[in-house]
Symmetry: C2
Subunit: 336 residues, 2 copies
DNA sequence: ATGAAAGCGCTAACAC
DNA sequence: GTGTTAGCGCTTTCAT
């Protein structure tokens, strides 16, 4: 029993037509007579034929597949964005493949994936793509299509869809100020990250607007991980003079931080008010429930795919699309 | 400027050799003389040639790509398993593509992906694959390779790598018993899920071993989501008689549950002892820190890929491989 | 409306 | 060791 996958030719034989007709009957049903279409469809049933996309793509030079690059699959924040991309993509008949950029050679391999017509292009949630990817993608005739979502890379002409990080950070600080806080610290994201910079800028802007000082010893370095939040918590506990409120560049760090303080008998929000950024799922159910800045994640995913499709089809796209962020008030920040 | 991607033929011309030689020089450097290899490599540089995997795969009938099916990308638990798969895969030169099984038509599309030689096979972390996938995969000459990790599907001959869920659940209950608890409830996972059944079986087994009654009103229905934990918390609060301890089929539900109780003034572990299952990252930093069952996630990912590779290459694999789970004792369970 | 033939870019089989 | 030839499975002119 050879059990080979049936091909167009098998179907053609079974239907008593040519391979070309089978192809047409499947791809352009209108271009074929009612009678033959039925014959072909029946033959497809009989043989159990499924089109070999590989061969089809080789011919058509397009794949209806897209790769999404994520800096850290473990960060739940991204999954909602991916879901948004997926829902827009599946509507357009696209398959979405996700890949982590961190594994050794991961980015490289993925880029080859695209360069070789195995995917039409990519949406990157990681602003720090290897230079090799950036140079081989980013528009131009025959070049694979690249779109940034959430994060981005300045200077290149790559379209990006992003949240209003600076505005969101201002919202967070404004909230603390409205609660009567004036001694407000900040836990940064990883150095060299565009989100880190934007959120820090928003923090400084809001502080400046109210004539509040930005004390250098209250600006702590993190990297978006839970563990870096724990570490920052340790440093904070050793501060000679402590701020009454902290704004965190993301939720996960806030959790690590709050938990570390809790272990040392310092309670949020009793002893410290906290506002963070992202509103990941657990934020609402952390103890205390986290006051944080929410980003419309599903929407940004959809928008990113829409931008991708436009760019892939050669249409011009706006280079930067910004979606608004909103503040979700819960329990972790209290009046000073 | 045509700007067409260079092909083997372009390289061949530039190097003054045949296309076949170019192919050999690239794929099997030993099968070609030192001199020609250098010529070819230089020509590759000059032309900026990159192999078209699409065409290569069409010929080779193998892709060095694998698709991982995840029931829910948002659940952080899976990301570590994926990382394990990725590290084993990248060592073998494989690209890992991840896809969520939930989006409409998602499973179907992915299966086509494999059926069409765009990937060598798949590792599913979802035991409830659509029947169409199960029947078209699962071994046999020319059929795509399928391996289950974490979850599985009984009855089919599909190899699976899994944790000792039943044993882990027993560990959890034993711990509660050793703390002096005898009134122990359980929050189930989704109905029809193999993990739900295995963990519930472990719970019952441990209870039986100690002659403890399994009270039906203390067995609550959940579905692994945070929200279902919240819902179960509500039901629990209305119980005429409450258990002194609860074993949760996963961490997320425990968080929802604990948070809901906290909102109503019922504190864990003061008023209720909790043990859960998974040890996702936040578990250690939840308040209270969660006592839970840890599964070697990275290892299972590696094992799953190893099994996949064996199966793909036609070797026989053990049908079930079970990895042990361990109990991580933290703060959420206290003496009765 | 349909068939014949060419070819997408690559590699395996067979010569030499 | 290298070139020639054929063909992976499909789509797409170009005829008819």
């Amino acid at each position: 029993m050879p059990n080979r996958q049936p091909t167009v030719r098998d179907v053609a034989q079974a239907a008593g037509v040519s391979a070309a007709t089978v192809s047409r009957a499947l791809s352009f049903p209108d271009k074929v007579s009612e009678a033959t279409r039925l014959k072909v469809l029946r033959a497809v049933e009989e043989t159990g034929y499924v089109v070999n996309q590989l061969a089809r793509n080789l011919r058509r030079r397009t794949t209806s597949a897209i790769v999404v690059l994520v800096p850290n699959l473990g960060n739940q924040f991204f999954s909602h964005i991916i879901a948004g991309i997926e829902s827009a993509a599946s509507r357009a008949g696209y398959t979405v493949l996700v890949s982590d950029t961190r594994p050794p050679g991961g980015g490289e391999m993925l880029m080859d994936f695209v360069r070789n017509n195995r995917a039409d292009g990519l949406i990157s949630l990681d602003g720090n793509l290897p230079g090799s990817i950036l140079s081989s993608a980013s528009g131009g005739r025959g070049r694979p299509t690249l779109v940034f979502a959430c994060e981005w890379h300045d200077g290149l002409g790559v379209p990006s869809v992003r949240f209003d990080n600076e505005g969101g950070a201002e919202l967070a600080v404004e909230h603390l100020v409205s609660l009567g806080h004036s001694r407000i610290g900040h836990l940064l994201g990883p150095p060299g990250n565009v989100l880190t910079d934007a959120r820090f800028a928003g923090y400084r802007r809001a502080m400046a607007r109210h004539g509040l000082p930005v004390r250098e010893d209250w600006i702590l370095q993190g990297d978006f991980t839970l563990e870096s939040g724990v570490q920052a918590g340790r440093e904070w506990l050793e501060l000679a003079e402590r701020p009454g409120a902290m704004f965190f560049a993301n939720d996960e760090m806030a959790f690590g931080f709050i938990s570390e303080l809790h272990g040392k008998g310092v309670e949020v929000p009793r002893d410290l008010s906290v506002v963070a950024f992202d509103d990941i799922d657990i934020a609402e159910r952390y103890i205390p429930a986290l006051t944080t800045v929410r980003q419309p994640r599903h929407e940004i995913g959809e928008a990113a795919f829409a931008t991708f499709l436009k760019a892939f089809n050669g249409a011009t796209t706006e280079l930067v699309r910004t979606l608004p962020a909103t503040l979700i008030v819960r329990d972790s920040a209290r009046p000073a």
